[in-house]
């Protein structure tokens, strides 16, 4: 590997900490039915880097990114202007189509224009991309995992868009000095690799190989998901969601799906995929991710609210587990 072939983002495995974000992204990959992940957090917590690194590890094509200043023709699709000028009408796929079967990433999602938000909402809720513009008429099925990052200091999301994200993670800065030092040294190592240091390049190369092994594990978990039956925890999911006065059933469903995805991931330690069991402890592990952004929709004033340890205790009590 040389400087020119180094990936543009540091490898996933070099990112220190932020385990909740990692877990949420991995679960959303294993079970794409979860719908997406919203990562909300203060500045400088590595939200965007982590998403890009995850996509770099899991997908062969570049991460489809929707910048906040994207025009509508690039979001839904349009004509190739250059070809059009030469008298040939050639359609050009939009980002929603490009993201089919992978991630659609929106950095600073809370700064997105309302009319683009409306388009995304329509497509993500129906699974159908309908193009009716500039004489172009098409309708296609698309399915993508919506991943957004935002800094809540700059404003919140519309409740309808918030609801499209199956899981929400509150990214918090790690303030433990030892961990801060590890973060810093990892980034500096990657800097060195970019600057051509052979030792650092070798280190990054090794990490990329390790990432590939881990990606295989996630692929395997995704394949096993169908073997994880959710029946044993249906009642538990409903009990937990009811305890937090969820509106609608999306919270129950996401909770159940995320718990199954976690069970599938953990089962990669075992060889027999027919004996995978999902348990209340899996529900407990994903409850906050699935529920924290749904409980306060009515209050509108905050988009994640989780009281530790009270809410953790509520979940544990409903599942008859230790907090």
């Amino acid at each position: 590997m040389t400087v020119s072939t180094l990936p543009p983002i540091l490898p996933y495995g070099m990112i220190v900490g932020q385990d909740s974000i990692k877990r949420a992204l991995e679960l959303a990959y294993i079970a794409d039915r979860i719908g997406g992940v919203l990562i909300s957090g203060q500045r400088g917590t590595g939200k965007s880097t982590l998403v890009r690194a995850f996509a770099q590890m899991m997908y062969t094509k570049p991460l489809v990114t929707l910048p906040i200043n994207a025009t509508e023709d690039r979001v839904v699709g349009g004509w190739q202007i250059k070809q059009l000028m030469e008298g040939t009408a050639t359609p050009q796929d939009g980002l929603l189509k490009e993201a089919d079967q992978s991630i659609l990433y929106i950095d600073e999602v809370n700064l997105l224009d309302d009319h683009i938000v409306n388009i995304i909402l329509d497509v993500s809720s129906t699974g159908i991309l309908s193009i009716q513009r500039d004489g172009l008429r098409a309708e296609e099925r698309v399915r993508f995992t919506l991943v957004g990052t935002m800094n809540p200091e700059e404003g919140l999301l519309r409740p309808q868009l918030l609801d499209r994200f199956g899981l929400m993670v509150s990214a918090e800065a790690d303030t433990v000095p030892a961990n801060r030092a590890k973060i810093m040294l990892a980034v500096l190592a990657y800097d060195n690799a970019r600057a051509g240091d052979p030792d650092a390049i070798a280190q990054v190369q090794q990490q990329i190989e390790d990432d590939q092994v881990y990606a295989e594990r996630l692929h395997g978990a995704r394949a096993r998901l169908a073997h994880v039956k959710g029946d044993p925890i249906v009642d538990a999911c409903v009990a937990v969601a009811s305890a937090f006065a969820m509106q609608g059933h999306r919270g129950d469903l996401v909770l159940l799906t995320a718990a199954r995805a976690l069970a599938a991931l953990e089962s990669m330690e075992q060889t027999n995929q027919n004996s995978i069991t999902v348990a209340p402890r899996h529900v407990q592990a994903v409850a906050r991710l699935a529920l924290q952004h749904r409980r306060n929709e009515a209050s509108q004033g905050t988009q994640s609210f989780w009281r530790t340890p009270d809410d953790d205790a509520t979940v544990a009590a409903k599942l008859n587990l230790d907090a």
Partner: protein, 632 residues
């Protein structure tokens, strides 16, 4: 020609050497000098990159097409044709040069500029998805911004955090003014002010680019953590990374084989010229001598490390994987830091520096863009409104290209028959031009926070009427936060209703709702805060002025946490009142918002309304009792 001050010289050279440091903010530096400094920075980048650097100004970009590129009709020898023209930030896609983007006044760059900076600065990959263009590239842009110290606190912390290097423009005040004046007299040139590249710097930069990267001293990370602790910058890792990168770059410039804690201290001092001079540290005194030595001859790469400081590359080799994270770096807990970092000076240096890092203090609102004149009426269709169709146009402004081309295509057969000798390209005539029809944008907002539990027996309609009339006259959008209204979905929570104008019947119904059972005033004010932040700051909002009218006696009785969770836990006491005052203080810090408090004439606890008015920083108006109507 004056020379660039030493602190700026070192910082600029470091930025030229390390692409991750190419976002520089200088506090209190006039636009002319900033431009001259940008020219020096461009020279250094040209040396480091081996290709020309070009200075461009963000102030000249009026819209997103100017920044990111857009489609335009251009006349060619073969007739008019549509071409994509790159903008300021996408020029690097078609040109070989490295752009140095200068922002003369960060606080007044406007919403568009701030959004652009947040998107593009410190991003490893840039994305362009506009007007049929889909590009991804690793940006090489170098950012250089100026900002007045008094205004810096109004810039979004989110944006400030992206600047890797902060410098104080006061460094220019230390330049020898007499010598500068004499030099200006001698030159008697009307040319704009320019700065000279310090002698020897070019050779030093070239040498530093070729030397091997320095290793990290065993206590390098500790030094960074000590001078940029996690508690500052609200835990953002960028601050520490920037300090570490700057220290490494300084070590490279010196030709040091190892980046030492002393380099961290030197990097830290670049942002603290005052601390360096007031403490009269050994480093501070050494700087001028060192600069002179550098001028005399560029340093050699093989400087021996301090014998007192062990070289321990193995101990600090960067973290390979999460799996190995637990057994990788081990901080030297309690170990004394070498030399100058120990003692009271380190404590002084790690104190808050609100002048250069205003985001470490209390948050304030982003500033109003000054260059865009405010429009008064809602009927004006601003270019920022979403496209809702196309219409015929006689100019090329905000052109709907595809619609224009489609219109032209309809007439091609006829036009070709009239001009058989024309080149085989699309023939466009002015009659084909179509521009975007855009939805009108709301420019003014009336936000009412109404406490339904305090107004019985008072002429609240008379008190609110002037504001409702204002909203009608100005075609303002209206948001109503109902506090303690009868029929609320949740007694512990306020409710928000947003309508596009004052004549929506739903608003009238909501205003006339009777009193409920609780007064979640804190939650109501918090909702108002979120709403105003979104309206004035968020997205491409065009709201230029908002009026906040709070009708309340200040007697909130529900804590904010209880509203959020939907459950009152324990004794409430004064929590509801105090949370409301806290939210009111946050509201008082919003720019572009005119505030007013309307309270009933005092019967009980009159001081609560006064305290609320003070917290809101708003005039207090008293509602008259409805005695005439009440008495038969």
């Amino acid at each position: 020609m004056p020379e660039l001050p030493a602190s700026l010289t070192r910082a600029f050279a470091a930025a030229a050497l390390s692409p991750t440091l190419r976002s520089i903010l200088i506090i209190d530096l006039d636009a002319g000098t900033l431009r001259a400094a940008a020219a020096v920075l461009a020279q250094l980048l040209t040396i480091a990159e081996g290709r020309p650097a070009e200075v461009v100004s963000l102030a000249s970009a009026q819209n997103e097409d100017a920044l990111w590129g857009g489609l335009a009709i251009r006349a060619t020898s073969q007739g008019p044709t549509v071409v994509w023209e790159p903008g300021l930030l996408t020029r690097e896609l078609t040109a070989e040069s490295v752009p140095v983007v200068v922002i003369p006044d960060l606080a007044h760059v406007g919403l568009l500029g701030q959004r652009t900076c947040v998107m593009a600065m410190d991003a490893p990959v840039a994305h362009l998805e506009r007007h049929g263009q889909s590009r991804r590239w690793a940006p090489r842009v170098c950012w250089l911004a100026g900002c007045a110290a008094a205004d810096a606190a109004q810039v979004s912390p989110h944006l400030l955090d992206r600047f890797a290097i902060r410098l104080d423009g006061q460094a220019f005040a230390q330049v020898d003014r007499v010598a500068e004046l004499r030099a200006a007299l001698a030159e008697e040139s009307p040319a704009p002010s320019s700065l000279q590249l310090p002698a020897g710097l070019e050779a030093m930069l070239r040498a530093a680019s070729s030397w091997p990267l320095p290793q990290l001293h065993a206590q390098f990370a500790d030094a960074v953590l000590q001078l940029a602790p996690a508690e500052i910058a609200h835990g953002s890792a960028r601050r520490q990374l920037a300090l570490a990168r700057l220290a490494i770059a300084l070590a490279r410039l010196e030709g040091a084989p190892e980046a030492l804690p002393a380099h961290v201290l030197a990097a830290h001092r670049l942002s603290r010229p005052q601390a360096a001079t007031t403490t009269r540290s050994a480093e501070g005194e050494r700087e001028p001598q060192q600069a002179k030595a550098e001028q005399a001859a560029p340093p050699q790469p093989a400087q021996a490390p301090s014998p007192a400081l062990p070289t321990a590359r193995a101990a600090v080799s960067p973290e390979p994987a999460p799996a190995a994270a637990s057994d990788g770096y081990v901080p030297a807990q309690g170990a004394p830091l070498p030399g100058e970092l120990a003692g009271g000076e380190a404590q002084a240096l790690s104190a808050l520096n609100l002048r250069l890092f205003p985001e470490d203090g209390p948050r304030q609102q982003a500033a109003e863009p000054l260059r865009i004149p405010p429009r008064r009426f809602r009927a004006s269709a601003a270019a920022s409104g979403p496209v809702i169709g196309v219409e015929q146009s006689d100019t090329t402004e905000d052109l709907a290209l595809v619609a224009t081309i489609v219109e032209a295509a309809r007439w091609q057969r006829m036009r070709r028959s009239l001009r058989p000798d024309a080149p085989p390209r699309l023939q466009i005539s002015p009659a084909d031009l179509r521009r975007n029809r855009r939805a009108p944008v709301v420019e003014q907002l009336l936000l009412l926070v109404i406490d339904h539990t305090c107004r019985a027996g008072f002429d609240w309609i008379g008190a609110l009427m002037p504001h409702l009339l204002w909203a009608y006259q100005e075609r303002a959008a209206v948001s109503l936060v109902q506090v303690g209204a009868a029929g609320a979905a949740h007694t512990l929570r306020a409710e928000l209703l947003s309508v596009p104008h004052v004549l929506v019947p739903q608003l009238n119904l909501a205003l006339n709702a009777g009193p409920g059972y609780g007064t979640p005033l804190a939650h109501g004010l918090d909702l108002a805060l979120q709403t105003l932040r979104c309206a004035v700051q968020g997205g491409r909002s065009a709201v230029r002025r908002a009026r906040l009218v709070v009708l309340s006696a200040g007697r909130g009785n529900i804590p904010l946490d209880a509203s959020r969770v939907g459950l009152v836990a324990g004794t409430v006491g004064l929590q509801g009142v105090e949370a409301a005052l806290e939210a009111a203080q946050a509201l008082s810090r919003l720019a572009l918002v005119q505030r007013l408090l309307i309270a009933p004439q005092p019967q009980l606890y009159p001081e609560l309304a006064r305290r609320l008015a003070v917290a809101l920083d708003a005039p207090l108006t008293l509602m008259a009792p409805l005695q005439a109507e009440a008495q038969p």
